[in-house]
Symmetry: C2
Subunit: 699 residues, 2 copies
């Protein structure tokens, strides 16, 4: 087996063990699988050690140092010591993100006529209470009992057990522990059963919550790694940043943890804007905020990040998509929950097949999965490192009923970068119930239905004066008894109310404000009428593709980074021209004054075509300047030399082939424009124009 | 005099009074001017009453209802009752804002090779303490002593005095008070001296702060308007939203009140990215947050808003601008502080003249003033309603040394929409002093200077061990004694230190951490050396154009809104095509199936050209659909009718002339594309193509 095969076998075996656990298999059943997993892990570790000394593994440290050097990103407030989990984007990082977002708008919003929205970051508590975030959007944390240092509980367990297993392995292999480890470590050789138990816990860590997690931390004597002090029992920490809105302190608010709620709250206005036509999608690009307990992994787990979210509102029973045929043949790695449980690994599949076979629940979900895949590939993510993984039932968010994550592989492993969830009617229903505002769409029936039914009539002249300012809250209770459409009432409930009115001359109801009200028989009555139903109301379902732009951007950086083996090792980002921060370098071969008018002409001409460019007329050698721009991922360089002064031609260099052609300024500018717009490829250009071999020209 | 002349005279006279106050003129001097002002006010009020019944005054209520109806904007969280000062942008509002921002990027960032940045909203307290915002970014507020209702103090004084004056005027004119006013009002006729005093206070309200404001509120018996209860003494309320970063509560943070600080903190990285070349500018678009005490005036005073800020870093003595000649002849209304004090009114002036005459301090500031003007006009702001007003010395922000505001006139009056401030070296100096990090640029001298000078030498082998982790803080003290460049020390200070070392064998210094340290003679020494200075360090000055995008967008909405007098009054937004949310409506004359392929062809073709379009194939009449798109400000409509099926021609309608032409689909699409890109005008199109008179075609 080569290294990849070992890794694949290991991943498969981990899945097998996971699947056994998920099925609550007995220990005897699962033991042989764990043994196999351990053997593979040992083999993989050995190979990794060898690989580390080879040059072809991913050198993350080199990438990170380049990102800092060229100011793609930097820790925020660095001169003040920085704050974990907050990053600034410098000029190339910021341009890269803008270009990704601009392609996102083209690919989704414009292409699909989505309704773009911009909602506020500040969000009052009441909204996030309804959405479930106030109660459920939290992680468990523990404290070092002496220093007060704080850890995210699951990360700590993972860290401690992983180290115990590592120490054990090294001791058993007779290896010496590193100095750093010796310092505080109480490294011991573990019993086989203990080892197995640790492996089991690590594989199923996501399942430990609440009391289970508390017990786990106590039983395994999990301690703070640096101090070896005991830790407290885990407590839940809500991940939202809170604040007060207004000077009185009466409005508690949060910075939103997702952009989605703004779409739901505006549903009625959006539907109206769309001329009451369903289905439709809203889209929003903006910041979200999560107060991570211990941010790590650079851009992958941060406290403030850009999201791009789509909420596609659709009839619950009509999830076919009119444009599905356009994507039917798009093929990608799919990793269904069934495949995960059967531990059969991800497999290449056409989205058409996946939907036909019911692996993906419906065409709309499938359509978005395919469109997400096409988007990621379009901006430069390596297609071989994209897979769509379906959530297992127990990992689904509180609002979701089906979910496929686009995971992108980087040196951190497979990272969830786009979620594509069917949130069903969860949010619209919850907000509607809380506010008494109907959040529904209407469907005209092919044939009107005529039938007898109970309806409730309110005697406004009694009802209003009786409840005054509470009238809306009381009426809300009755409004909620309307099902389907405005003339259809919950027949069972109305019969109950009718019976109570007849028996007691009143009913006791709970208003939408949570208070109890007594409604008397002179205010309401239940009557039998013949009704005609031609329109039916329904609460739309929501299919939500949600993009973590920072994670996608980071993956793009890793996938685009390579080192060119030449006289010196030079780093290059092979961004597609459409996302590259700068499209063209304009460089005179030296800072001779004769070149200035040509620089001006080229820059003006590129600007007219909307091609972002950068003049570098510094005194560095032209090779040095090319290298600097390779590090920024600039795909094209236009160079002015002494021949330009004679015949007005310039050279055009392409970043990855480092081949050049030569032609007049207007032709070169047009070629660059067409390359950036994706109308032609560099191969097309090379086929038409002879390669130019740069001559050394004296300055 | 016509109405405009009265208004102009009134504005001039208000300025005269303001100027007298600013000069601290005596009461006798100022009285005749106040009398004149009152007379003009009375006249203006009378005319306003007449004007209100005419149709040509600005109907803000109609605009607001259209903005809600077409979902340009909406109060956030409306179904939860809303939160004052927070607004969501619906599809047309969001597209309008995106288009404004995209033109902003073109006009400033791309055109000037600015370095775009994206920094976090979350900001730690330490940063905003240094910048002065923690201590000084606040407004005075008072509370109703019984209900606890909160008012911004200056707004309350203005409201109460204005009402007393109004009541007085009505009573003196023998008019009846409105019912609403009668309810709680204690309307009385005022003594002439009281009236004058109130007028004086209103004119100079900005000058009342701290104890003066407290005294004013007590002396004038300012009370809560609804309840007539007394109010508390004013207290300062900081306008920043605070939160905790991380789970331990040790990092107090704020949502940033401006984007500028992120630029300053990254100055060193930006300069390095720019190959150490000065001057340069950074630019950033993002949200800022201000917890207004009582938000009002719609989009003009909100709690969360989009800013676009530029920080142009420049040598303090080299503020000429290489591209100034390009804007020298740009002419606009300028209202200098001198003109304000002399009460001579704003006047039309070329920016070249303004700089030449020293009215605008330097070319760089002047260049940006002109560029801001050109930007505002480009996006559709009425040039006649733009003026640049220089801040008076007493209204400058704590960091600014000169400031010109672009004010735009709307129905709310002249509103500051872009600030263009010279922040001098305030921020870089403050952050550098606080963190010990040098935030300087370097300038090569034409001739090196060679001279004898005192320098300080640190004996590292003693110094480091003596202070251990505090060494950096102590060294910071000495680093701050370096002036100009790395080899130039503050000679006076060094002489002092030398004297103390010789006298006591130690000096007492304050480290950058604020603590006191004793530095002994074995750790440092002051020596005389011959130094060669070829490079000089300096702290750059910062010129900051800062755009309130929401305010500009609101002004654009008002300036673009008009009502077309036709069979029915129809509202239109005459946005320039470049900022219009949707560029082209695509509408079949009826929903006949034969039209579908043409719709598809046109849409695909527009999309390829990047022209945002919208199909409206609803069953509404074509006139109704045109009207709907006039309300969205869509400049062009392409209509498919039965003739299209025969000869593949379509009509093109322009929004403001409501003229149409007819041609083939490719030609029409190309015309629209060229119109949107600004390459041709509708007049050009009309000159070339005969006007098409729509025929009534049966469906």
């Amino acid at each position: 087996m080569d290294d990849n095969a070992v890794e694949a076998a290991l991943a498969r075996q981990a899945d097998v063990v996971k699947a056994f656990k998920a099925r609550k298999a007995t220990k005897t059943e699962v033991q042989p699988e764990i043994d196999a997993l351990l053997a593979l892990k040992a083999e993989a570790a050995k190979r990794l050690k060898t690989a580390a000394s080879r040059s072809d593994h991913f050198d993350r440290a080199a990438l990170e140092s380049l990102l800092a050097k060229r100011f793609f990103i930097a820790p925020s407030f660095q001169i003040y010591g920085g704050i974990a989990g907050l990053f600034d984007y410098g000029p190339p990082g910021s341009a890269l993100q803008n270009n990704i977002l601009s392609l996102w708008r083209q690919h989704f919003v414009l292409e699909e006529d989505m309704l773009e929205l911009e909602c506020t970051n500040l969000t009052p508590e009441s909204v996030l209470k309804t959405s479930g975030h106030v109660d459920r959007f939290s992680d468990a944390m523990v404290k070092d009992t002496k220093t007060g240092d704080i850890f995210r509980a699951d990360h700590l367990v993972k860290q401690v057990l992983t180290r115990r297993l590592d120490d054990d392995r090294q001791l058993r292999m007779g290896g010496a522990l590193s100095d750093a480890k010796k310092a505080k470590s109480k490294a011991v050789v573990l019993e086989r059963t203990v080892r197995d138990h640790y492996e089991l816990v690590l594989e199923t860590l996501d399942n430990f919550q609440g009391d289970d997690l508390t017990k786990l931390i106590r039983d395994l004597d999990i301690r703070a790694p640096e101090t070896d002090n005991p830790v407290t029992d885990p407590v839940l920490f809500n991940l939202m940043f809170d604040t007060q809105i207004g000077p009185t302190g009466q409005f508690k608010g949060f910075m939103r943890p997702e952009t989605a709620q703004g779409h739901f709250l505006n549903f009625k206005k959006l539907l109206e804007f769309n001329n009451d036509q369903m289905p439709f999608a809203s889209a929003s690009i903006g910041k979200s905020f999560r107060n991570e307990i211990s941010p790590r992994q650079g851009l992958l787990r941060v406290r403030e990040f850009t999201m791009a979210e789509i909420e596609h509102f659709v009839h619950p029973d009509q999830k076919d998509h009119p444009r599905f045929d356009e994507v039917r043949d798009v093929e990608m790695m799919m990793y269904s929950s069934k495949a995960q449980l059967a531990a059969s690994g991800a497999s290449k599949m056409k989205i058409g097949t996946a939907v036909d076979q019911g692996i993906v629940n419906n065409q709309t979900l499938g359509y978005f999965v395919a469109r997400i895949y096409l988007f990621l590939v379009r901006i430069g993510i390596d297609p071989a490192r994209i897979r769509f993984r379906q959530h297992l039932a127990n990992e689904m968010a509180h609002y979701a009923c089906d979910c496929w994550d686009a995971e992108i592989k980087s040196s951190y492993g497979w990272i969830e970068s786009v979620g594509c969830a069917d949130r069903s009617a969860f949010d619209l229903t919850a907000h509607s119930k809380k506010t008494g505002e109907k959040l529904v769409a209407r469907d005209t029936l092919p044939e009107p239905i005529i039938r007898d039914a109970l309806i409730l009539e309110i005697n406004k002249s009694k009802f209003g004066p009786a409840f005054k300012k509470d009238a809306k809250a009381v009426q809300g209770y009755f409004d909620a008894l309307v099902v389907g459409s405005s003339s259809e009432w919950d027949q069972v409930k109305l019969a109950e109310i009718d019976a109570q009115l007849k028996a007691n001359s009143f009913v006791q109801v709970t208003g939408t404000d949570g208070k109890q009200y007594k409604v008397t028989a002179d205010m309401i009555s239940v009557v039998q009428k013949t009704i005609k139903i031609s329109v039916r109301e329904y609460t739309p379902n929501v299919i939500e593709p949600s993009f973590g732009i920072g994670r996608i951007l980071y993956a793009l950086l890793e996938h685009s980074y390579y080192v060119r083996e030449s006289d010196e090792q030079r780093a290059v980002f092979k961004f597609p021209a459409s996302v590259a921060p700068i499209k063209a370098l304009v460089a005179p071969i030296s800072n001779n004054a004769e070149f200035s008018p040509f620089i001006k002409e080229i820059v003006a001409s590129l600007r007219r075509s909307g091609v972002a460019n950068k003049v570098d007329d510094s005194t560095s050698s032209i090779g040095r300047r090319y290298a600097r721009n390779d590090e920024l991922g600039t795909p094209f360089a236009i160079t002015i030399d002494f021949q330009t002064v004679q015949d007005k031609t310039v050279t055009l260099r392409e970043r990855d082939t480092i081949k050049q052609i030569r032609s007049t300024i207007p032709i070169i500018v047009e070629i660059v424009h067409n390359l950036v717009e994706g109308r032609i490829t560099w191969e097309d250009v090379m086929a038409k124009h002879p390669a130019f071999v740069a001559q050394e020209l004296s300055a």
